[in-house]
């Protein structure tokens, strides 16, 4: 038997995931040997594990880009920084969960273990450089989140959400798998490196097969990223899942899927006409930016509204991806349109580095903001109101500024950051991404994006209106207090403002993400 020779260096990229898995196993075992009913320590273990994994990933992030484990995964700053972001999101989510589950008498070790498993899946997904590895990691991630979605299993809502997520998730995974199979048929390999090398020839011989594979893989990813028109599952699932899990899904799953999408398509576009991926990503970006923001307009349910907003944010990320794939041959004389790249100075600059940095910074901003926003919602909702379905109504926020000024100020900061109003991290993130898009000459798309974001600002401001300008109803429930929730909310609120004012070394770190393997 041919045993591959693996060194420590090969295991380096998967080390963060390893830490997460070990932490998850510890948490599972803790449930077996438990002697107290007090389970907050499990959240602390989950948080510390995630932070440790994040530290390991951060250490890896300064390594040069290279393939590892025989080219099945890659070690590059892009995926490692993404892992850091996922770990940050996981740490915040497990802190938020402690209070949330405690309030519902549903605190169990397996919840945190599932969170950590799904984080491990996200981390591995982002570094996969081979279709089977990619699929397995996608499933590790997905199955954990299916289970988490239905974790509060009493009541119809979690079951419905979990079932819907499972069916559609399985469907999208099978699309991805089918596309991968077609590409394997066309190129004879599942490793991205080899697929990329073989694609030009395969495309010349069987363009239909390659296009079909390309389209199916793209559709599979678009489901995970929740891009319009593959977004149908998002509002229902986000609404039905326990709120801290929704937060993790909106930030972590999306981040991992975007990074995996970029990595996959860096190889898959070889040989194709450069217009094809560009127009595909531009169309997805446009639909998601406009659709997400407009669909959020009529929502009174804040959790659903944030679900639509997460679709819009996926659109902004895809705008960056579209800039990455802008055809280099664009002529300066082309008219400005939605799906054309007209670089300002006539020749296409190299925007890859700024796109990667923009994506990461945007994801960082979105992670802390979304975790904070969903965390505030989690603290305000009441299980007993869920059947009356007003537990997430805007009315819940009425007069919050007078009842709890600190909570209201934090939520206002999260809302402004989602809307991209300075001086918050959301503004800087948008600045980076739209900067890259303008540099690549996507003028029409950038204008459409910022105009759509104004519709988004209206949506977010409505929450602020309720908090600051409406009187509190007499029976308004106070947010339940738990120290873990408060720590998480303070941390994310501080991060939203501090990173928006002084991003400090973070942007410089992310500059190194320009070294993406294979680009």
């Amino acid at each position: 038997m041919n045993i591959p020779h693996l060194t420590f260096q090969d295991l380096l990229p998967v080390a963060p995931a390893g830490v997460l898995v070990v932490g998850a196993i510890v948490l599972l075992l803790s449930e077996v040997f438990l002697s107290t009913a007090q389970r907050t320590y499990q959240a602390v273990i989950g948080t510390l594990t995630a932070l440790l994994a994040g530290a390991v990933a951060m250490n890896n992030a300064f390594e040069p880009a290279r393939a590892a484990l025989q080219g099945y995964v890659v070690l590059d700053p892009f995926s490692q920084w993404m892992t850091v972001l996922v770990c940050l999101g996981t740490a915040l989510a497990s802190l938020l969960s402690a209070g949330f589950l405690n309030h519902r008498n549903a605190e169990r070790g397996e919840f945190y273990a599932l969170i950590l498993f799904s984080a491990a899946g996200m981390s591995l997904l982002a570094m996969s450089a081979e279709f089977i590895t990619l699929f397995i990691n996608l499933e590790v991630l997905s199955i954990s989140t299916y289970a988490l979605t239905a974790f509060l299993r009493r009541g119809p809502r979690p079951a419905e959400a979990g079932f819907k997520y499972f069916i559609l998730g399985a469907f999208s995974a099978s699309l991805l798998l089918y596309g991968a199979a077609l590409l394997y048929g066309a190129t004879g390999s599942t490793r991205f490196l080899d697929v990329g090398l073989a694609l030009p020839q395969a495309f010349a011989q069987q363009p239909g097969l390659v296009y079909a594979g390309f389209g199916l893989v793209l559709a599979g990813f678009a489901f995970k990223v929740a891009a319009v028109p593959f977004h149908m599952w998002t509002p229902d699932v986000y609404e039905g899942a326990p709120t801290p899990v929704t937060a993790l899904m909106s930030a972590g799953v999306k981040a991992a899927a975007v990074v995996a999408l970029v990595r996959t398509f860096l190889f898959l576009v070889k040989g194709l006409s450069p217009e094809v991926p560009f127009i595909a990503f531009s169309a997805l970006a446009l639909l998601s930016m406009v659709g997400g923001n407009l669909l959020a307009l009529p929502q009174r349910n804040v959790k659903r509204m944030l679900a639509y907003s997460s679709i819009a944010h996926a659109g902004y990320l895809l705008l960056g991806v579209a800039a990455l794939f802008a055809p280099a041959t664009a002529k300066g004389s082309d008219a400005v349109g939605l799906f054309t790249a007209t670089p300002l100075l006539g020749s296409m600059p190299n925007v890859a580095a700024s796109v990667y940095k923009g994506l990461l910074f945007y994801l960082l901003g979105y992670t802390v903001t979304a975790l904070g926003a969903f965390g505030t919602i989690a603290a305000l909702e009441r299980r007993e109101d869920e059947t009356r379905s007003n537990t997430w109504d805007l009315e819940r926020f009425a007069g919050l500024a007078q009842r709890k000024p600190g909570w209201a100020a934090a939520m206002a900061a999260f809302m402004l950051s989602l809307g991209g109003v300075p001086p918050t991290v959301g503004f800087l993130g948008k600045l980076y991404l739209f900067g890259a898009a303008v540099d690549a000459g996507l003028l029409g798309l950038a204008v459409a994006g910022v105009l759509a974001s104004v519709a988004g600002v209206y949506v977010y401001l409505r929450v602020v209106v309720y908090m600051y300008m409406r009187p509190a109803p007499a029976d308004a429930p106070a947010p339940f207090r738990h120290w873990t929730t408060e720590v998480a909310l303070i941390a994310s609120a501080v991060a939203v403002v501090a990173l928006g004012v002084l991003p400090g070394p973070v942007t410089e770190w992310f500059s190194r993400a320009g070294m993406v393997f294979g680009s």
């Binding site: 290279r66 580095a353 300075p422 204008v447 300008m469």
Partner: protein, 589 residues
């Protein structure tokens, strides 16, 4: 004489209100008196720092931005915290500083709910406004420009009158639409103005970077007006192709803020619904951000495009002047009348600026300050009346002069200023604006139409004064109105003093803005081939960023590692360069 404080004064000017807000946050919310006193103290302190800055400002110095301070901020974007004042921003800093304490005094008894939040919003707003006028970095300007929205939105939405939520939302969204488009345009300028690695959002980088392209384009268009740009350099070609759109994006953002016809519709709502303090700040300073934006960014950065749109914008300004005046004639609501008079007055401001003549620009700059004084004073005084009577319609009043003589005297003086009676500040500004527009290349009928509106202006203001103050007291409730108390007199007196001083002795202030107007006109004309051929007259010279930070502006990435496994190099750590140290060198004279 320079002192090392000179380069720090502006930081104090900008951030002292924020510091006071930090202190205020620790006061218990029920201590209303203490909160008001602390805020007033903070605003007075802020005014003193503004005056200190003014005393260190030299109107005759050839240096454009004085009291400069620069610090690296986000290195990889070439973003720096860069503040400095030239003549016009010095004027606006003074205006903002003076209004600060008066705003607090005006709401001393008017606002009695959520007092702490109210004063926090005022202080944060003060910081944002001062930051916006002092910013030399365009993105810093943008950040402050946007940051102004949130406290103002809360001021209107929380402490306003009946329809406040709608008005606040309208205000926010209108401004946001303009400013996001401007952000895209700003990004485009950022990429156009400098090659990769030298990019920066600094005003000097953007202006100097576009300067030669603008000149090239202007000369080209002179030779062949309908040319398709063959033979132009890449930057000039881009300016030919996208310049008009970029200019329009900037112009839209600022036109909404001014507000110019036809994007003025948010203003009457915002003014009518805002509390007194909100109206004063909105009219006094925030609207000036629009005219200031045209002055500082839109016109100098795109001289060619602004030439192309000069007639259109000037026509819109005149339409605004006349339309605003007619709308005023039709109003029964006093606050709405003052709001529409703002539309009319700021039309003069824009007309003077778009004349691109020295008189017009001077008049425009002076009119900015005038409008800040006289319209704020109108809102302040009407606020006192509103606080007593809670009615906004003219028909609710009548014969007030008999009941409140002191108040009526104040109001009349301010009215004269607003009508631009000679001897008041309004006269100086309007006269210069009209003079400038007659001397300019704008068609004569525009100037004539603008001049007729002067008469209309007198008509609607005096009409209003007549209905409110003279005649018989028609309402029983008005008989018991108390005249101004000492606090209110203290709040109103500075305005009257300013009106008199600025009207009778305008020269010192005109001197302050003189260099700034000269530069503005030179920059506006530079591209048309009429201005100085000499670059050095228009080039923006600023203090450079300290060396090591410049190196960081665009980190040159190591080439991507080849796609196949390679021997493992040593782990690399990023070299964290030290943040730029502010240099302790003496500031510009």
């Amino acid at each position: 004489m320079n002192s090392i404080y000179d380069s720090r004064i502006l930081n104090l000017v900008i951030f002292s209100p924020l510091l006071v807000a930090g202190l205020l946050a620790f006061l218990p919310r029920n201590e209303k008196g203490q909160i008001r006193a602390l805020t007033l103290g903070g605003m007075v302190l802020n005014l003193l720092t503004c005056l200190w800055a003014y005393s260190r400002f030299s109107p005759t110095s050839p240096v454009e931005f004085q009291l400069e301070y620069r610090l690296a901020w986000v290195d990889d974007l070439g973003l720096s915290y860069h503040v400095g004042v030239d003549g016009i921003s010095m004027g606006l800093v003074l205006l903002t500083g003076v209004l600060g304490p008066l705003v607090v005094l005006s709401s001393w008894t008017f606002v009695d709910e959520r007092v702490k939040e109210f004063h926090l919003a005022l202080l944060v707003l003060q910081t944002a406004m001062l930051g916006a006028v002092c910013a030399v970095d365009t993105l810093l300007f943008f950040v402050f420009f946007e940051a102004m929205l949130v406290p103002m939105y809360l001021l209107i939405g929380v402490w306003g009158s009946e329809e406040r939520q709608m008005a606040a939302m309208k205000f926010f969204l209108y401004t946001m639409v303009g400013s996001v488009l401007m952000l895209v345009a700003l990004l485009a300028v950022y990429f156009l103005a400098a090659p990769a690695g030298m990019r920066s959002f600094d005003y000097s980088t953007l202006y100097n970077g576009l300067m030669s392209a603008n000149r090239e384009l202007a000369q080209y268009l002179k030779a062949n007006p309908a040319g398709d740009g063959a033979g132009l350099s890449a930057a000039a070609l881009a300016l030919l192709r996208y310049g008009p759109y970029l200019f329009l994006a900037f112009a839209l953002a600022f036109a909404i803020k001014v507000p110019m016809f036809p994007v003025h519709t948010w203003l009457p709502d915002a003014h009518v619904q805002a509390p007194v303090a909100g109206s004063i700040v909105l009219a006094g300073v925030m609207l000036k951000m629009g005219t200031y934006g045209f002055w500082r960014f839109a016109i100098p950065l795109f001289p060619v495009a602004s030439r192309q749109f000069q007639l259109l914008l000037a026509a819109l300004a005149v339409v605004g002047i006349v339309y605003g005046a007619f709308m005023c004639l039709a109003q029964r609501d006093i606050k709405k009348l003052i709001a529409y008079s703002s539309v009319s007055h700021l039309g003069y401001c824009m007309l003077g600026m778009l004349a691109f003549t020295a008189e017009g620009a001077t008049g425009s700059a002076y009119q900015m300050l005038n409008h800040g004084v006289s319209t704020s004073a109108l809102f302040l005084l009407f606020g006192f009346l509103y606080e007593r009577r809670h009615a906004r319609l003219m028909s609710d009043y009548g014969g007030i002069a008999k009941v409140m003589p002191v108040f009526s005297a104040f109001f009349l003086i301010v009215t004269f200023s607003s009508v631009a009676v000679p001897g008041t500040n309004g006269f100086v500004g309007e006269f210069l604006v009209l003079l400038g527009s007659y001397k300019s290349n704008l068609p004569l009928w525009l100037s004539v139409a603008a001049t007729t509106a002067v008469v209309l202006g007198a008509a609607y203001m005096l009409w209003m004064v007549q209905k409110v103050f003279f005649g018989q007291v028609t309402h029983q409730e008005n008989l018991g109105l108390k005249d101004l108390g000492p606090r209110e007199v203290v709040a109103a007196l500075p305005f009257v003093l300013l009106i008199a001083v600025m009207g009778l002795k305008p020269q010192p202030l005109l001197d302050v803005i003189d260099h700034s107007t000269q530069r503005f006109v030179a920059r506006a004309k530079y591209a048309a081939g009429e201005g100085p051929v000499d670059d050095s007259k228009v080039r923006v010279v600023v203090r450079p960023l300290p060396k090591d930070a410049v190196a960081q502006v665009a980190p040159t990435l190591p080439p991507a590692v080849p796609a196949h496994p390679t021997p493992i190099p040593l782990p690399m750590r990023p070299v964290r360069l030290q943040p730029a140290q502010p240099q302790l060198q003496p500031a510009t004279p």
